[in-house]
């Protein structure tokens, strides 16, 4: 056997053998146990308990943010093909590491984290943001024959809450009334794992408290009395006679859990009003900034998986189809201060050690190239060869061959720069390319989750990453790279 046997050939082989011997041998070993892939490897030590995903929705250009290239200032008549970056570079606290202007605060906390500069998005053809976002968050390309769970749902299912009264999967900042809303809903979901593990949605972090306290206008006294009334009536009902019943009991148990959560002191974790004014103001660059503030409070009090999104709305946010330069400046102003503050605050309180923070986007942007080299896809933006109007100055096309992912805490090596993109167009990943399976496996690795975590749906195992493939990037954690 001098060749690696692909997973499916192996499965077929095992099946053939089973056909010949098992059925005859009238063994009681269930067949599925040979054909699926449950493992009994020893547990991995975890490095993090909490994940914060800072989601740059809409396609953040790496060349305008964390991987700047040659700066070409605007002048009327400049050629599009010359424009690699529309901002000058600025140094960061890490020697030799430069960011794009406007990200100085984040640059200042890079001694606490790492940057991956070689993320390659999937090639999904004609680009649709939400499809790439679905892929990033579930690790599967839509559509799938079953509903794939969000990364946060896997984590919620496998690890449960850190603090039992804080929902283990919280998603902040995204409304579902915008364009492509249905496509957004498709991955903000626990899929076949069941709604129990689905996201607890907080579109507006400043009203987060409303989701975890008694209904508006209801006093605590009334809230307690109402629950007692229900319990008393339910217990007196004749259906309670005659033995136990698991369905009824699980219903009553869930009501009790919810009552406890809504009546618990932890609810104030969701209350941004508890923060000192100056802290609140530091974070408050808008909804995203306040999301970072709430993420900090949740991480300090036992959140498990928390995402904060800059919000996706077609053609808004990072999705710059025109005025790319001006809008990138605005987006940087939105994220720079609160993210840096989040890292600092968690570091100072000691929580950064056990909190893994990830900043990522579904893909990058470029002034010229749509898609990636060699895989042409349909252009979605008209970009003139010669820029006569400033609104054409910026990164307006969707680029899938290189983008940046930042990570802090949770055992991540400090000050590390991993991978590289070309300095000339196309600014593709040219060293240590990273794909989504590896990103997910690295996150699971940090949490101590088994790389082959899976769930049997419709009779077959469905893995956290397709076929259980993809390896964590151990270099990020400062461990010896295993080839």
């Amino acid at each position: 056997m001098d060749k690696d046997l692909p997973i499916n050939a192996r499965r077929d082989f095992v099946k053939k053998m089973a056909a010949a011997s098992l059925s005859a041998a009238s063994t009681s070993i269930p067949l599925a146990s040979f054909l699926s892939s449950c493992t009994s490897d020893p547990a991995i030590t975890s490095k993090a308990d909490t994940i914060i995903l800072l989601w740059m929705a809409g396609g953040m250009a790496h060349t305008e943010t964390f991987d700047p290239k040659a700066y070409v200032p605007y002048s009327k008549g400049v050629e599009s093909k010359r424009v690699l970056s529309t901002f000058p570079k600025v140094p960061t606290i890490v020697d030799g590491l430069h960011f794009s202007q406007g990200l100085e605060s984040i640059g200042n906390v890079m001694d606490k984290g790492a940057i991956i500069r070689s993320y390659k998005s999937a090639d999904l053809g004609h680009i649709l943001h939400t499809r790439h976002q679905y892929h990033w968050h579930t690790c599967y390309e839509p559509p799938q024959s079953v509903q794939a769970p969000h990364l946060g749902a896997w984590i919620a299912k496998e690890l449960g809450p850190v603090n039992p009264v804080i929902p283990p999967f919280i998603a902040m900042g995204q409304r579902f009334t915008v364009g492509e809303a249905e496509e957004l809903k498709a991955f903000h979901s626990a899929g076949f794992l069941g709604s129990e593990y689905g996201p607890f949605l907080i579109p507006d972090p400043s009203t987060g408290l409303d989701s975890v306290r008694p209904p508006q206008g209801m006093s605590l006294k009334r809230f307690e009395a109402r629950y007692k009334l229900y319990k008393e009536l339910a217990n007196k009902s004749k259906i309670m006679e005659g033995g136990s019943d698991y369905q009824r009991e699980s219903l009553m148990r869930s009501m009790e859990q919810s009552y406890r959560l809504l009546n618990s002191p932890e609810a104030k974790v969701f209350d941004l009003g508890q923060e000192p004014k100056e802290v609140y103001n530091t974070y408050n660059t808008g909804r995203f900034g306040l999301g970072c503030l709430l993420a900090k409070r949740l991480a300090m009090n036992g959140g498990r998986f928390i995402s904060v999104s800059t919000e996706y709305e077609p053609f808004l946010g990072w999705d710059t189809h025109e005025n790319g330069h001006i809008r990138a400046a605005k987006m940087k102003a939105l994220i720079d201060r609160p993210i840096a503050q989040l890292i600092k605050d968690l570091d100072e309180s000691g929580h950064l050690d056990r909190t893994l923070i990830i900043l990522a986007s579904e893909f990058s942007r470029d002034a010229i190239m749509e898609g990636r080299p060699g895989e042409p896809v349909q252009d979605q933006v008209d970009q003139p060869d010669i820029i006569e109007d400033e609104k054409f100055y910026g990164m307006h096309r969707h680029f899938t061959d290189g983008s940046s992912i930042l990570m802090w805490g949770g055992g991540i090596k400090k000050g590390l720069v991993y991978g590289k993109t070309a300095d000339e167009r196309p600014c593709s990943s040219i060293e240590n390319p990273v794909v989504i399976d590896q990103v997910h496996q690295s996150i699971y690795h940090a949490l101590g989750m088994h790389p082959e975590t899976n769930y049997t749906i419709e009779g077959r195992p469905f893995y956290t990453t397709p076929d259980g493939q993809g390896k964590p990037i151990l270099d990020l954690f400062g461990e010896k790279l295993v080839s």
Binding site: A18, I29, S40, E141, L233, S237, S244, D245, Q247, Q257
Partner: protein
């Protein structure tokens, strides 16, 4: 070295054979895979080492002679395709065929028949199962006091005859199975199509099941959405091409066979091969399909075939011809599997557990094969009359037994023994409709409206722009104007309908005529006496609430009927004008100059469903049935699936997110508040009436003395509305309400 065919396996590697039949300890294959994972010679070299169980299997196989199973991939049990046409037991005293079969089942299991439920429990169960609604108290009383021995069968007939309500309940069941929904991924780029209109009409006229299947497989424009699948923009995995989706969905929904696993590689949950699923998918493809294993082409072209070739050939030149052939082959009476699959689904829906489980794996052993095949065969003999099948099950004593209590979920799995129906949770739709029936509408608007009165109005609001793009409007006040001219004719009647998201004040010719704060409701106005000949002016001050930009819009229609029989319609449309600046006094009158105002924007209909009461005709409906409503966060959390994939079983397990939604969800609590106000208006004078009504309408029974005492005690307060809301809440949360006993 090759291991996926016989020759390769026996030939071995470079150094010769690797298997010594009967002697694992001398077989290179066994020895190498058994080495420790870090050993230099361990096999496989790359990828994962084998699991212990796999190594044991190899050992066992070699010991047993290392025989290769030629063509025998059929290692999983398969159900007979044809129905067995079982004869009914002759020695039973039971009169109903289902009960005759169950009588011998109970005898064989040495079980006694469980008790039959009382009339109150039965009528609630029957209503919920046929109409998805709760019976009114008066109806319950009449039924309970009715002395007719055949009253249960009569009730079932009567309910099955309530065609619209029957359709609006069962629509959800079919939507789940046929992956049909009003919103969801795919619609945005035209990659998906509804079959709602076709489905609604099919259920309304009780179309025979074989006709439905034929129309799904060889579709008209109205039913093609099912096999068309969901197409996302861009490239998709080979196993998710729409042709493959068609094969997978027909397999799962209609035939109870898992094609999904075999559309990527040979299945390891059934005997299906990659060739078979590609052959099946090729029926729907207009060009040759190349087989892909795990998304990699393997250089082999698919040959058109159906999974069950014994039913007949589906080979033909064009897709159109093949679909016709497939539709005919599928519905043949010999294809018992088609009829068994749907019969089993109905049994599960009515009894809580299928005769075969999971319901999509119809090769599994039924707990009573005679029962399943008798029901399916009877269904075929009845002309595939779906209502008749429901009636057959529901008139049996077996359906009318008390629900069984289960200590844990495992009792439903392997070794399950029937001991009466399983306790079922109200579905998201049943729960919502019951709340609508009892306290106040959960939903005012439907995504699909069977009445379909098309009024030419648009949902308008002030146009808001950011970076040259139309965006959702910011919260705040906006002002709107529209003028129209009336002929010099006598007006007989003039009615206006208005609904504004979120709130509004309406002026006609400078006078305030209406205001509203609930965007879900329709206000109906008589305006004949406020109109003048010549120029008239409508003005609206609208308010968008909330903290961040969100949908807002005005819906307005006015119908003016003249004495001479002609009529004029004035509606909200893009000719209206608006501003976001507070206008000067007089802006509601005809004389005001609105030249500086801009044209409004039509915000379309994607954010709002059709208000069922936004109509000049017909009876005013009280609420929109939940099955017709677009997926909504409340229903989603209560278990209504997102129908991106076929969903044949709903999770009935209570969850924390559900409990949170019920406990502090603004939506549900808002409905309770609205209901309390209404109830106080209606029964305010008598606490007794309120308590009695609440019990009768939610639980279908009178309160016990104790329950009555507790409730009356709660109402002894000055805060009556709040007290009543809390009573509602306690009732809706209770297990007695949430389960079908």
């Amino acid at each position: 070295m090759v291991l996926d065919n016989k020759r390769g396996v026996y030939q071995g590697g470079k150094s010769g054979p690797i298997i010594v039949a009967g002697r694992p300890e001398e077989s290179e294959m066994f020895l190498r895979v058994s080495l420790p994972p870090d050993h230099d010679d361990v096999m496989p070299k790359k990828g994962k080492v084998l699991k212990d169980s796999e190594i044991r299997l190899i050992e066992l196989w070699i010991k047993n002679g290392a025989k290769w199973s030629d063509g025998a991939l059929k290692i999983f049990p398969e159900a007979e395709l044809a129905l067995s046409q079982p004869e009914l037991p002759k020695d039973s005293k039971e009169s109903h065929p289902v009960d005759k079969i169950m009588d011998s089942y109970f005898k064989e299991k040495k079980l006694k028949w469980p008790e039959v439920v009382d009339d109150r429990t039965f009528i609630r169960r029957a209503y919920l199962d046929i109409l998805g609604l709760l019976p009114e108290p008066l109806k319950i009383d009449q039924f309970v006091t009715d002395r007719d021995k055949e009253k249960r069968a009569r009730l079932i007939d009567e309910l099955l005859g309530d065609t619209h309500n029957y359709t609006q309940h069962w629509l959800s069941f079919w939507n789940d199975i046929l992956r049909n929904d009003y919103s969801g991924p795919g619609f945005i780029t035209g990659g998906r199509k509804q079959i709602t209109d076709w489905l609604y009409k099919s259920l309304l006229e009780n179309k025979p099941y074989n006709v439905m299947v034929k129309e799904l497989i060889n579709p008209t424009e109205a039913s093609e959405g099912f096999i068309k699948g969901i197409k996302w923009r861009g490239l998709v995995n080979a196993s998710q091409r729409t042709e493959m989706q068609a094969a997978q969905n027909i397999g799962q929904s209609l035939m109870g066979v898992n094609v999904k696993c075999a559309s990527c590689h040979n299945s390891f949950v059934s005997n299906l091969t990659l060739e078979q699923s590609y052959g099946f998918a090729s029926i729907f493809a207009d060009s040759l399909m190349e087989l892909n294993r795990c998304d990699m082409p393997i250089g082999k072209m698919a040959e058109v075939n159906f999974l069950y070739p014994e039913l007949g050939s589906v080979e033909a030149e064009s897709v159109k011809e093949r679909l016709l052939l497939l539709s005919e082959v599928m519905v043949k009476p010999e294809n018992g599997r088609l009829y068994r699959t749907i019969t089993n689904r109905f049994w599960k829906r009515l009894m809580g557990r299928g005769i075969v489980e999971p319901v999509d794996e119809m090769d599994n052993e039924p707990w009573n094969a005679d029962l399943l095949d008798w029901l399916a065969a009877d269904f075929v003999h009845s002309g595939l009359d779906i209502k008749q099948l429901l009636k057959t099950i529901m008139t049996s004593k077996s359906y009318q037994l008390e629900t069984t209590r289960l200590e844990n979920q495992e009792e439903l799995q392997k070794g399950y023994v029937f001991d009466g129906p399983i306790l079922r949770r109200l579905s998201a739709e049943q729960f919502s409709d019951a709340v609508s029936q009892i306290v106040a509408p959960m939903y005012y608007a439907a995504a699909y409206d069977p009445s379909n009165e098309d009024l030419p109005f648009k949902r308008i609001w002030h146009r808001e722009i950011k970076f040259d793009r139309d965006v959702l409007p910011e919260p705040g006040k906006r002002y709107f104007r529209n003028s129209f001219n009336l002929d010099d004719k006598k007006i007989r009647a003039a009615k206006a309908l208005i609904s504004v998201d979120h709130s509004y004040t309406l002026y006609l010719n400078g006078k305030k005529i209406s205001e509203g704060t609930d965007w879900r409701k329709v206000d109906r106005l008589e305006v004949a006496d406020k109109l003048v000949q010549g120029k008239n002016l409508l003005a609206i001050e609208g308010q968008n609430e909330g903290a961040i930009a969100n949908p807002a819009g005005i819906l307005f229609a006015m119908k003016i009927q003249y004495e001479d029989g002609t009529q004029l319609m004035v509606t909200s449309n893009d000719k209206w004008k608006s501003t976001d600046k507070l206008p000067e006094a007089g802006w509601t009158g005809t004389k005001f100059d609105d030249d500086s105002w801009q044209g409004v924007r039509n915000y379309g209909s994607s954010n709002w469903d059709k208000l069922v009461n936004f109509t000049f005709e017909g009876p005013i409906r009280e609420f929109a049935r939940a099955s017709l409503v677009k997926q909504h966060p409340f229903m989603k959390v209560m278990g209504r699936p997102t129908r991106e994939n076929v969903a044949t079983t709903r999770d009935e397990q209570a969850t924390l997110l559900q409990a949170l939604e019920l406990t502090n969800g603004e939506y549900f609590n808002g409905v309770l508040r609205e209901g309390a106000t209404e109830w106080l208006k209606k029964y305010g004078a008598s606490h007794e009436d309120m308590v009695l009504n609440l019990y009768q309408r939610t639980l279908g029974r009178n309160p016990t003395e104790k329950e009555r005492g507790i409730m009356l005690g709660v109402l002894q307060t000055d805060e009556k509305e709040e007290a009543l809301q809390d009573l509602f809440w306690s009732m809706f949360i209770s297990p007695e309400f949430q389960f079908i006993y």
